[in-house]
Symmetry: C2
Subunit: 388 residues, 2 copies
């Protein structure tokens, strides 16, 4: 028996472990200091009422003989896939119900989608990056090309003529940089990919944070995208489902035969998402649910705006914060981990060193809006005092 | 962009579609006939009370700020992994908490486990078989060897000296044959595999149906298995979780470095199972839950016993039925699909043609215990009238 040798090529995922270690060491040495965490990428506001009510009903249904449901459809129940279709329709995007695949999280789908592609493809991955894109390609033994996201391109790299790639990862609003592509920029990617016979894997996990109506929340707002892009969406950051687990992926029928291949993959390796979770997700797409999650996102966006404003006042270059829960800032004259230590020891604020997301992340730092307003305000005051 | 060419080598999964088509056609032509379904592999009894109560509480917790939980541990919450450890302990099997991986279903894990192995391995798969073993190996481009399960070996194939394989699939109690390996037989596999540097993937999804205390419910009841076997378990058939989605996989730390590789796979491609589902699963392992699911399984086992008894009275060779919800019978002088048509048209009973599970399934037929007693009794009376 031989193991998958590609696993040996993976780097250790030490970023968040090292953050936790340094934070714990500082707290131990300084037990009286109150540390504020603006480093985590996890939500903090509980589920909206609509989702809770739907969940309680669905659990009870599963306990009664006349409403019990066993195996569900591989792509998800129509009450949810149709809700997703309507959600897109509100933004002027037409997709067919048969193009929607419900799963237990966008991470699963972004990772598993590689199953339907040949391992000999070249993946183009922006740097810095959400580590899953990179790691899953290493695991598959695919060829990887990085494309620099940096200060000069506003952390929004664009295609150029000499670029060659088969599978192109785009994440907008971006994790970790918070940068958001506009329609013209996405159109440049769509045109490039269509000419090259490639495919875009578009990660839209943070689409709900886009407030500027001129910015696209779906790549399908761009003409031609349905012939070249798969889109991954999640209820994790939009509705606080990080612990509930629900995502959905759109694989257009006009995208080669990828819709049929993905259905084959999912029906062979997956048995549908939990009925209870699907009912909760469907409630989020209802009018009450949409209002409630918008209120919750509003809390995070107020935090993000405050952090962004503070950095602007300090004259610090940053991306994100306006249409994204992430704020990506240039460490003033320092490397990422030095800035981490400075912020921890002097402001007692924990963030995430940009160097942990790739070589272009060196000298940058990620703060997140996933805290309450009082703590976020206190954190920005401390940051001002230290850096002002 | 190139797609995974192995998908083109997959056979169409037409078995259950064809069953549904022939059944619908018969019903349409004979609207007055009451068809009884003993063909499906899905449970029919609703969730036990303990699971429902735990689910309602967990959903409510997710709606309150002080009990809300976001991302959970990749391997599952300790309240559940420890419950699994205790569940094994009751049967005299010692596993460590770090060896338990909770997921959203055994099917996912049985399929995804191939990620950690080299695609150049040879998989040994019994015939007839649960289609997922075969299909996932085709998708991966692995070499496949079939080993005959037939009347002469009681549908329990054993290793022989000339056999060469890297990954060996065993399912006991078996789907579709209902046959159960005894300890000596499993020991033969364990000894063979340890000598060959291979690994056993042991599917124990039906372990709760084993009533005979001399029969193993886990491969780890056999000495040496922790050095050569991964075990897949599920709450689908034990606790009616087919629509709730929860399974768990045991990857021993003494099994090469597979525990670390699987953790790496899961932490990269998966974000943990739903907190709500995990609470429901943990309740199943509690004393109340165990009693309640045993009562439910008792209903199915009474059905299975009746079907088995009926076939014995008719002098029809069959396996399963005593320690399994499946009954696998030899069609009296007929091919599988001819027997399907006979049973449908003359007894108005629907089962599953064995030929759909592999070449050794030809001439055999699967009946399941997942119905209520009244319908099962009526079905057996009709079968007696037709075949007696």
């Amino acid at each position: 028996m031989k193991i998958n040798k590609n696993y040996a090529k993976m780097k250790d995922g030490y970023l968040f472990a090292e953050v936790a270690k340094r934070t714990a060491e500082y707290q131990k040495a300084n037990p009286d200091k109150k540390i504020i965490r603006l480093g985590i990428g996890d939500v903090t506001i509980p589920l909206c009422k609509a989702a809770v009510e739907a969940g309680v009903s669905a659990v009870r249904e599963q306990g009664e003989a006349d409403t019990f449901r066993g195996y569900g459809p591989y792509r998800g129940y129509e009450f949810l896939t149709n809700a997703v279709v309507d959600y897109y329709k509100k933004r002027g995007v037409t997709i067919d119900e048969s193009e929607v695949f419900v799963s237990e999280g966008a991470k699963n789908d972004v990772a598993n989608i590689l199953d339907i592609f040949d391992a000999g493809n070249t993946a183009l991955i922006p740097d810095p990056v959400y580590p899953v894109y990179y790691d899953t390609n290493v695991m598959n033994g695919a060829k990887i090309k990085l494309i620099d996201a940096n200060k000069s391109n506003g952390f929004l790299p664009l295609p150029h003529k000499k670029l060659k790639a088969d599978i192109i990862y785009l994440c907008s609003p971006n994790n970790p940089t918070g940068a958001v592509y506009n329609k013209e920029q996405l159109k440049a990617w769509v045109d490039f990919v269509r000419g090259a016979g490639a495919v875009i894997l578009f990660d839209a996990a943070y689409e709900f944070y886009v407030r500027d109506p001129s910015l696209p929340r779906s790549i399908y707002e761009v003409d031609g995208a349905k012939e070249c892009a798969i889109e991954f969406c999640s209820l994790s950051k939009t509705a606080g489902f990080t612990g509930v687990r629900c995502g959905y992926t759109v694989v257009p029928r006009s995208l080669y035969n990828l819709n049929a291949l993905w259905l084959r993959r999912q029906s062979t390796k997956f048995n549908g998402a939990s009925y209870i979770v699907q009912r909760m997700a469907a409630a989020v797409f209802g009018p009450e649910g949409q209002k409630q999650i918008a209120d919750n996102i509003g809390v995070y966006m107020k935090n993000a705006a405050l952090i962004s404003e503070t950095l602007s006042d300090l004259g610090i270059f940053h991306t994100g914060g306006a249409n994204s829960p992430y704020i990506w800032l240039e460490c003033p004259g320092q490397k990422s981990w030095d800035f981490f230590d400075l912020l921890l020891s002097r402001a007692n604020v924990v963030g995430t060193p940009g160097a942990g997301f790739g070589k272009c992340g060196e000298g940058f730092f990620r703060l997140t809006a996933f805290n309450n307003f009082a703590e976020t305000k206190q954190a920005t005051e401390r940051i001002k005092a230290v850096l002002g």
